[in-house]
Symmetry: C2
Subunit: 748 residues, 2 copies
């Protein structure tokens, strides 16, 4: 096969000459102020859009096709309603609340979400992880043993009444946080909850849920414990009491878990052949309810049952400000987790059914729903993936299905609640546990992640272990911290490399990666493979020094010291002048004070002669050799540069320039160049002329400028190319050959 050829002929460009040849557009960058102004602009069309986006129901109601969609919505609503009732009862146990409040949570938040939500398929209501997080606060402020927190109005309330006040106040605050975030348009923050983090977090939550349900399955009286390490104390309590296990509860739980597990596996396996999945949970609930009632489990075996349900709705309550103060730190992660879960589920369905959802509007919708729900004593609402899956798969098209499921919950609350009263709590616990399978299976991600990306594995483990040991709220914070640190770390410690040319091409590759590479003598190409900022500028400096093989600042100091010695020898006439050159030099030394050495670099310029540092110097003068004359920095991967990096870079460049090494920068981003200009990066030593569009341009420029220069000893008089240089060679005693270059037309 004939390979196509790559042929390019064009001038060698520096960034400067490129700008001359190609007209550049002057772009006015938007300042943050402009963006704010733009954002606040207001006209009638915008107002209409805002109203539409605040009430998404208008959008989907207008296209609602009653004939085609209504039936599906009703069927879906009824199925979802059954699941929602079951989950409401079970998850209220996670929240350490009486089961009937779970029914409230399946009702109130749905009503407002119906109007405000942009997702048409999620089922709003309780979510196990969220319920558990609420439960942690509830048991902290109102423990079973010991005094409750000191909160006004708690005096005459029973424990459960207090707990409801705490849960609803917490939910109210969570709603405020969500609403505020929605109004501030900061819905994007969920991007920080990466898949890895969420996986680790939900796995930890599953472990917490499992442990919290043990007491129901075993029929024990274990008080709810919260705070760091609570999981260990809870396990300990369970084991201490294990001899008091209620055998009836345990047997019933095990049977239910096995049956439900098998039925679910069958559902999964024959997914394609079954018209609808077997509603095994509903069946088991009805059976155990019937058995418990028929054989009076409560009296006969001492089984703990759901008990008296609140029938009907209670009057709304105002949230307690004191609970706000006590739980603000926990309410924020709850708000974030609640939103993040709902948003991720909503996103899946919006992609599947091809409509758009709006993160900020979702925040507003959940915020309002939680505030509204909390006023009617329901607890934190989000969505559960399992319930939403039922709603979507059974034919739900819009939130009308959600509304119908809410009405089912209402019917149970108002009229049928008594039917559920004999249901043993252990059944609910067993159902919760058996549903954890998917979440616990996420442990399998550990070896997967370890093989692929160690850093991600650390994030997963850190989040999971942190959330298990410290509790879900703190654990989420720990996970986020680790995750953000990994980003900083990855940016901070990149792999630097020295590049070399692929002979005969314009390609430059890592010197260590290829066998046949060509590296022109005296030129180092150093690739900076990441953004430069305060935390890695010193790292790069060290790596560059390692790559070039000398520390320019050190070399400069040594040279200045050597210069002092040369001067001293000169003054003592300790130098045998063997050639005419040194005489010339001597004659020029009109002002001795000009030769006074100092620690600064400019001193080299003040001298009437130049010393060729790479030549042989007298034995008493030792200066590190500098084998290179040019350094090319490959900036193609430098995506930003901060002020610290800018200062450090400038200092570094100057150090090299002061030891007569030219520095060139290739493939620098346009925006970074603008920043450099605005931050006074350029001065009389650092010019824009050191910037080149590609490494090859820079390399050609280097080879071009070095071509006709004596490679033994070079002076860099770039600014005065027309100066006539007279080279003279002098020999200093006791050693031969110090080459000294003079430039008689220069001021000294």
């Amino acid at each position: 096969m004939l390979r196509s050829q790559y042929t390019v002929t064009r001038p060698v460009y520096s960034d400067d000459s490129f700008a001359i040849d190609h007209e550049k557009v002057f772009r006015l960058r938007k300042t943050p102020l402009d963006k704010v102004k733009e954002y606040l602009t207001c006209d009638s069309k915008r107002i209409k859009n805002v109203v539409l986006s605040l009430l998404p129901i208008i959008g989907w109601m207008r296209i609602y096709r009653i004939k085609e969609w209504l039936l599906g919505d009703v069927v879906s609503g009824v199925s979802t309603g059954l699941v929602a009732i079951m989950q409401g009862l079970a998850f209220s146990l996670l929240a350490s609340l009486p089961p009937s409040y779970g029914l409230y949570t399946a009702f109130f938040p749905v009503l407002t979400y119906f109007f405000l939500g942009t997702s048409r398929h999620i089922s709003v209501g309780s979510f196990p992880v969220l319920s558990l997080m609420v439960g942690a606060v509830v048991t902290r402020l109102v423990p079973e043993v010991g005094p409750s927190a000191n909160i006004t109005g708690f005096d005459n309330l029973t424990m459960y009444e207090k707990r409801v006040v705490v849960a609803s106040s917490l939910t109210f605050l969570m709603g405020i946080f969500q609403l505020a975030m929605g109004l501030l348009q900061v819905g994007f923050i969920v991007v920080y909850l990466s898949d890895t983090l969420v996986s680790g977090f939900t796995t930890a939550a599953a472990v917490h849920i499992l442990v919290s349900q043990l007491k129901f399955v075993l029929g024990l009286e274990v008080p709810g414990i919260s705070g760091p390490l609570s999981i260990i104390y809870t396990l300990e309590e369970n084991f201490v009491q294990i001899t008091s296990t209620n055998i009836c509860d345990l047997v019933m739980s095990i049977i239910i878990m096995i049956v439900v597990f098998i039925a679910k596996e069958l559902n999964d396996k024959y997914k394609a052949k079954l018209p609808v999945p077997i509603p095994i949970e509903v069946i088991m609930t009805i059976i155990s309810c019937g058995l418990s009632y028929g054989f009076n489990f409560e009296k006969r075996f001492g089984v703990s049952i759901v008990g008296k349900m609140v029938s009907g709705y209670e009057s709304p309550i105002a949230p307690s400000i004191e609970v706000f103060q006590e739980s603000a730190v926990e309410a924020f992660p709850i708000a974030i987790v609640g939103f993040a879960v709902a948003f991720s589920v909503a996103k899946v369905y919006s992609i599947k059914h091809d409509y758009t959802i709006d993160g900020n509007q979702e925040l507003i919708a959940f915020g309002v729903s939680n505030i509204f729900g909390a006023s009617f004593r329901s607890f934190a609402a989000s969505t559960a993936l399992s319930r939403s899956a039922v709603q979507e798969s059974s034919g739900g098209r819009t939130q009308i299905a959600g509304l119908i499921s809410a009405l089912m919950a209402m019917v149970v609350t108002l009229a049928l609640g008594f039917l559920l009263e004999p249901l043993p709590r252990s059944v609910l616990g067993a159902l919760v546990i058996v549903n954890l399978k998917g979440m616990l299976m996420q442990f399998r991600e550990i070896p997967y992640l370890w093989r692929r990306d160690k850093t991600e594995c650390v994030v997963w483990l850190g989040t999971c272990i942190g959330a298990i040991l410290l509790g879900l709220d703190l654990g989420l914070g720990v996970g986020l911290g680790i995750e953000l640190l990994t980003v900083v770390f990855r940016t901070q410690f990149p792999r630097c490399s020295v590049l070399a040319s692929i002979a005969g091409s314009d390609l430059y590759k890592d010197r260590k990666d290829y066998v046949e590479l060509y590296e022109p003598q005296g030129v180092k190409i150093f690739r900076i493979p990441s953004p430069i900022f305060f935390a890695n500028i010193d790292f790069f400096k060290d790596k560059l020094i390692e790559a070039v093989g000398f520390n320019p600042l050190r070399v400069l100091r040594k040279r200045n010291k050597a210069l002092m010695k040369i001067k001293a020898m000169w003054q003592k006439r300790d130098v045998n002048i063997t050639e005419k050159g040194m005489w010339d030099l001597f004659l020029q030394m009109t002002d001795e004070s000009q030769m006074k050495p100092s620690e600064t670099a400019s001193e080299l310029k003040g001298l009437p002669f130049k010393v060729c540092w790479n030549a042989e110097l007298p034995a008493c003068i030792s200066v590190p050799r500098v084998d290179i004359h040019s350094v090319i920095l490959d900036f193609s991967a430098v995506s930003f540069l901060d002020i610290s990096a800018l200062k450090g870079l400038k200092a570094m460049l100057k150090e090299f320039i002061h030891v007569d090494v030219n520095v060139y920068i290739a493939s620098c981003d346009v925006y970074i160049l603008e920043t450099l200009h605005s931050c006074m990066f350029f001065d009389d030593e650092i010019h824009t002329s050191m910037f080149f569009p590609t490494i090859h341009d820079a390399m050609l420029h280097v080879l071009e400028t070095r071509k006709d220069i004596n490679t033994g000893c070079v002076s860099h008089q770039r600014k005065q190319p027309s100066d006539i240089e007279i080279q003279s060679t002098a020999v200093l005693d006791p050693d031969p050959a110090v080459e000294v270059e003079t430039s008689p037309l220069s001021p000294c």
Copy 2:
């Protein structure tokens, strides 16, 4: 001037063909395990090095030149000693401790640092910011009013004795943290304290110090307040009591401040002409001491004086574990700040005097010094820039100067302390305040930073305001958090751009930046200007969709829907077959089930014919137009890629491939390619052949492959280039011209 030409002729390379042409070195990357192993390797040379690095004194003692250096060290030690005594007294007021403990701090830590420290020029001892941070803990645990914290062994102690226990236990814990960090070799963490952060933090510290010294200057009895917003409460207390101001204190303070201020300005101005700077602070202290003693300020004006000094040293004490528990959260930032300050000062002098310091050894040295000092009741030691400047500028060459200054402090403690007893505390306060000038001047950085880099300005202000309002420890945490977030933000929201070719060259620039650019039809070059990770993969996806003008997933769905319609029309024979092609097609439709549409992309392949989506379709079928056939992603700035990004990128590439858009990736980093390989990025749709070394290679490849293809309607049979394609055109009723392409040799 004749411009040099850039001429390159080489084959067009893809990354694959490049690898074939150029032999690659197989590199075994070190795993973290290898690095640990390497780190733990042990041989006699290493042991010698470890011992030498653990006892740096051996290093500099061996090169000590007694004749040349000793005099300088002694002179420097005496001057530094005077300053150290003054500062010790003054800074112990910041730590809310009796002044004599400041003298301990100027003595004990120096002794161990002498052996262990790698810096030869810093003066170890008290540091105002650190003293203030210790003071915050001291006043929290042992307030002037109200009960002390409940700590064993506190019962029979006076308030000051308790405070000394708290301060020394805190210092002990801080020493443990520093030592642990040193042994774990994590000294690098100070890089996170960027210049901006440190500037904001020390400015806030100066404000705190100023406020804390007000009470001494005004001669008021204000209790020490700690915790968030303490600065406001302290100011309030001062203003409430302002009528009780002690006029003698105030007048004396103002005079001292003015005199010292002027003398310091003069010192600065005539730096070159003065042999030594005027020791104005020592002079003023002696004068005010004399005046206070002579006129009995304490009795006559009620001035608060230093009072009874502890004469001699007390027996060592064990730290209190309970204080550890109470102050662990504060001890950590104190350890960090103490080390960071000392290290940054040490670095300045090490560069100036050309020796190396070792961050981890410094941590060990300060850790041991603080543990040792704390056992003898001294408080947190670091270094003060002002004192180190005295030590260095007055001729100190090694820590022998430090040792002599410590001996001076010992002499005062043991014998001369009584001379300082009449010194008014307001004098010490005034001296502290007048020395804040430099730190407070840092406020001038705000406008400087604002003009140059808004983000850095936010970090500065966030750190400063946070540290002022929340206290120094929390403020440091806030500042660090903001700073790390800025790194994430900068990486997360970069400026994406669409590139176009500079005609006649191999350069590609932002389309918006240049006037004359050439963009081949149907190709988009999209530059990803930053690393890709979980937080920005969706951002890039949105930007890419914006750049190409269509959402590939949406297009695919629409196409699949359209396909269903075409199939339905076909089955109803609602299609007028006007040309032979459609008959062929009909004859091939042997298996109708193959045409059952689904939501997946593979469905397109299962069909016996291909529809040309960009041609005119029947009116009832509407599919978004796709105007491009190739997307080139410029990866040159992608310095890392995490698993989330990898998954997202893979999904994104597949979406494009499924709508028949070729995706090419240019300038991908070698290491990223390795990651892609190890993470199963490649499959039957995504090949390594889509990687090219430069954009121009990719572009040439695109132009080459597209050259001979019918641009109206294209099928991508890249894998079967030898297949004979028969193009046939059919017209579907009611609209004309649906181009359908068949490939009779393909399996269906």
